[in-house]
Amino acid sequence: MIKAVPKPLEEVLDLVKDFTKVLIAGCDGCVTVCEAGGLKEAKVLASALRLYFTQAGRQAQIDEISLTRQCEKEYLAQLSDKMDAYDAVVSLACGCGVQYMAEMYNNKIIYPGVDTCFLGVNEERGLYSERCQACGRCILAETGGICPIARCSKRMLNGPCGGSDAGRCEINKDIPCGWELIYERLKTLGQLDRFEKPVDPKDWTTSRDGGPRKIVREDLRI
């Protein structure tokens, strides 16, 4: 799932300090799971903003809401009769949600309330780590189910590099060497023969390098 962290409160305060009517819009999707932008986080942020405006002697209306998913028009449409009541919206959705809301409410100021980080897993509560870079052409079948693009700091397709030290990446001892993980897993699976076969340069056109991406599924479209 998409992982995000709340933006520092002072950054959000700075964005909204000149408005008097602000809606904090959470998203019940990914950002709720990583506790960065669900209903609860929307409530906390709204409360903090109310305290800020009140202690500053300012009359302000700060409300909160959370939508099922901000990456879908149907749910964003639920705001259509509310938008006029606000000067600005702080969306706690990932970057997709913020942009889609801005696209739909063209004349409204929509600010991001979280920093969208990566596609990752919940190792435990409060501990999330990256697993996928959405390169558009999955090679996990060749690499023992461990992605070198997401998990090697140099996204090497023929690792590990010479900086791999006691199973750790050269850039940070907290990062496991992705290629050592791959090597060990291939060994466990009895597929070490794959390790010595050079992997050709990757076609990155399906990744970010190919420009903004789009999926068109004719089998699903009417």
Partner: protein
Amino acid sequence: MSVTTPSKLQKMIASGNLAVTSEVGPPRSADGAVIEHKGNLIKDYVDAINVTDNQTSVCRVCSLACCIRLKLMGLEPVLQMVTRDRNRIALQSDILGAASFGINNMLCLTGDHQHFGDHPTCANVFDLDSIQLIQTVKMMRDEGRLLGGFEFAVRPQMFIGAAANPFAGPNVAMRVSRLAKKVAAGVQFIQTQCIYNLDKFKEFMKLMVDRGLHEKVAILAGITPLKNVGMAKYMQKRVPGLEVPDSVVRRIGGVPKEKQAEEGITLAVEQIQELKEVEGVRGFHIMAIEWEEKVPGIIDRAGLYPRPQLA
């Protein structure tokens, strides 16, 4: 190993003599005289001179420009190329550029992560890795083709090198395995990481010989003289994938401070003497980090001077 390029380094290796290479680090300014000076210091003692490519991700004069300068001085440069900073268009373009000046040796590297350098906030490229760069140069040289498929007539005559680190994780067997992968990609010579743990290196070479890999690729053993005990400790603790045994630290630290540099050089000479006897070792790569003036003495004392003159 037959000679396939005009590379003098390849000729030396093919002749059966122990080859000797060293490296020079470009300056962090536009001062071209630095490379000229460093090149002149070592030129008579080595068969080829590596020029590092923004080593440890610190921005410096580009390797290509320095290699061209050395070439114009009549020396034999080894163009180091890392894939960190350039995509396949830029890499191939630089290879063609180097070849257009008659540069005939390349060292294909992935490169240190920019995290270590003077621009840690930059974007990295890593479009290719070292093995894919080896494949690319080989394709350009042997097939006259770019990765994009374009065919051209004048091919870069490159003697293709790469690095190997017998001391990195997880174990020596995997390191041999990875080197086998570089051989499969087309590498012809290897300059190893600095060797201080000779036993482990010998274990590495034995596995290489057992698999017959030493017949397919020329191993040049990497030697870095230690300047003092501080450097030994730094290399031991701070440089990922480097192994400095305690005995080495004790030896350098065991002599008075003013004699540590001399002890470091003596140690390097002894290491070369010992490694000359290891099967599969075809030469030495002396990396005297910002200490190029010591290279001639080491090579001389190790009995590798004068360099054989080949026709």
